[in-house]
């Protein structure tokens, strides 16, 4: 049901895009206005979400650790997994963000029937980590590769990236490795949500929708490169026009381009509203980005109320005369 709903939503988006692609009068809207709108929503929404997170207090120091804490001098500390320095935290965060360190520790739990009753077994499960790694890195490289449409002249580094990506030189135009990895990885990420019962149970429409949307973006991209070709010179003119804020709409771009750019715009606009915000969120995970010095340094709850003190000195100053009259001893005359 959730799968169907998400699929239907993406199909509706594709139909809207196709309608826009085949209506020449709508090309300006689909090629220029919607992309600008989507980028604005993306940047604005992203900043809003991150600032909102930043405003929420972190009451306790809650780093999660999987290594030996700094202790007696003859016990070796794990400086990355249980860091007591900023450098250690930076390395840990880099491992987390670039190589998904936490996901690498993913385990699977299985309950099976043994001869003497049920057996609970834990095992390493690296497939999700591998699939995610391929998915995210391919996505990043594909995104950077697309800069060739937005930069003129094209920097050498992007050309190098592209030639490495197409290093197999299969087909014409050459097949990009990342395209293949990306499609395989996104299919895997989808299928695991369908075929693993526990995962299917906890998966929501908000999990399937971005998967379908990303799948459709990748598919239209591949279709555009090999089957329903578009005029790349015109595409680049449009892209540079967007980047210089002097939008132009060259004629004869090709329908598939408008479908592709509309789906990408949808993803950008949807991004801040969705779980995809883990892109910004991962940097703010309090269990990972805090120095593990819980006991070395005194940490004070940032929202502690300021307590109003009324010291004895102040008390005595206030009532000295009355105290003297009543014969109560005072510290200061």
């Amino acid at each position: 049901m959730k799968v169907l709903f998400s699929l239907l939503a993406v199909i509706v988006l594709i139909l809207v895009a196709i309608m826009g692609a085949y209506t020449t009068s709508l090309h300006y809207t689909f090629g220029i206005i919607i992309p600008y709108l989507a980028l604005t929503l993306f940047v604005g929404g992203f900043i809003y979400r991150v600032v909102k997170w930043g405003r929420s207090p972190v009451p306790f120091r809650i780093p999660t650790t999987i290594g030996q804490q700094k202790s007696l001098p003859w016990i070796k500390q794990n400086k990355i997994e249980n860091p007591t320095s900023t450098l250690g935290v930076i390395v840990r965060m880099a491992l987390e963000i670039l190589f998904f360190r936490s996901l690498f520790r993913n385990t699977k739990t299985e309950l099976s029937q043994g001869p003497k009753g049920p057996i609970l077994a834990y095992g390493s499960a690296k497939w999700l980590w591998l699939g995610s790694l391929f998915f995210h890195w391919s996505f990043l490289i594909i995104l950077i590769r697309h800069l060739r449409y937005f930069l003129d002249p094209i920097p050498f580094s992007i050309q190098i990236l592209e030639s490495i990506d197409g290093i197999l030189q299969i087909g014409l135009p050459a097949v990009y490795l990342t395209d293949a990895f990306f499609l395989i990885a996104v299919t895997y990420l989808f299928l695991r949500r369908i075929f693993i019962p526990q995962l299917k149970y906890i998966s929501l429409a908000a999990d399937f929708f971005p998967l379908f949307l990303i799948m459709s973006i990748a598919s239209t991209g591949v279709l555009m490169r090999y089957f329903y070709k578009v005029d790349l010179v015109a595409v680049k003119q449009l892209a540079i026009g967007l980047a210089t804020f002097q939008p132009v709409l060259p004629s004869g771009i090709g329908a598939m381009f408008f479908v592709h750019i509309f789906l990408v715009s949808s993803l950008f606009a949807y991004f801040p509203l969705s779980k995809l915000m883990h892109m910004g969120g991962i940097f703010m995970s309090p269990t990972r980005n805090m120095i593990s010095n819980n006991r070395m340094v005194r940490h004070i709850n940032p929202w502690n109320q300021e307590v109003k003190y009324h010291t004895y000195e102040q008390y005595e100053d206030e009532y000295r005369d009355k105290m003297k009259k009543a014969g109560i001893p005072v510290e200061k005359e």
């Binding site: 940047v43 992203f46 900043i47 991150v50 600032v51 930043g54 405003r55 929420s56 207090p57 972190v58 800069l147 060739r148 449409y149 937005f150 930069l151 003129d152 002249p153 094209i154 992007i158 050309q159 592209e162 030639s163 030189q169 014409l172 135009p173 070709k229 005029d231 790349l232 010179v233 015109a234 680049k236 003119q237 892209a239 540079i240 026009g241 980047a243 210089t244 804020f245 002097q246 132009v248 004869g252 910004g280 940097f283 703010m284 940032p302």
Partner: protein, 151 residues
């Protein structure tokens, strides 16, 4: 905001990375390659012959496949004539067929011996569009390209 300085600095870096295209292209003129379809060579042809080997749309989308097909026909199968979708025949030759129209007079004059090919460097042929979109066809790995022609 807690750790506001760091968060805002990171957000500024993020937005900076996102807006690279805006800053990179600032003040630049959006000038794509212009392929003239009215060069003297084309105008000299009879109106019926002024179309390329296939229709412009097909050529734009599929010229690489056509060139591959021509290469195989010429080099491996020994054919020298290509018959297009309208039944017209063309000589399979980059130098004599393609470049006849897709080059300037000066470039044509500079062809000597037929080894280094001005086509790749011509503003009217491969290089202009390919450089614009950073498309690097494999042709260049054997056929000496624009640098040689420029000398």
């Amino acid at each position: 905001m807690y750790k506001g300085g760091k968060i805002i600095a990171s957000l500024i870096i993020f937005v900076g990375l996102l807006t690279i295209p805006f800053f990179y292209n600032m003040g630049k003129v959006n000038a794509g390659p212009e392929i003239n379809l009215d060069t003297p060579a084309i105008l000299a042809l009879a109106p019926a012959d002024q179309q390329c080997v296939e229709s412009p749309e097909v050529m734009k989308a599929n010229h690489m496949q056509l060139l591959n097909q021509w290469r195989e026909a010429a080099v491996r199968d020994g054919q020298s004539v290509y018959i297009n979708s309208q039944g017209k025949s063309f000589e399979i030759s980059l130098q004599n067929t393609c470049l006849n129209c897709h080059s300037t007079e000066a470039e044509k004059a500079s062809v000597t011996g037929g080894m280094s090919n001005p086509a790749f460097g011509s503003t009217q042929f491969c290089a202009s569009c390919h450089d614009y979109n950073a498309v690097q066809p494999l042709c260049y790995t054997c056929h000496i390209g624009s640098k040689e022609a420029a000398k």
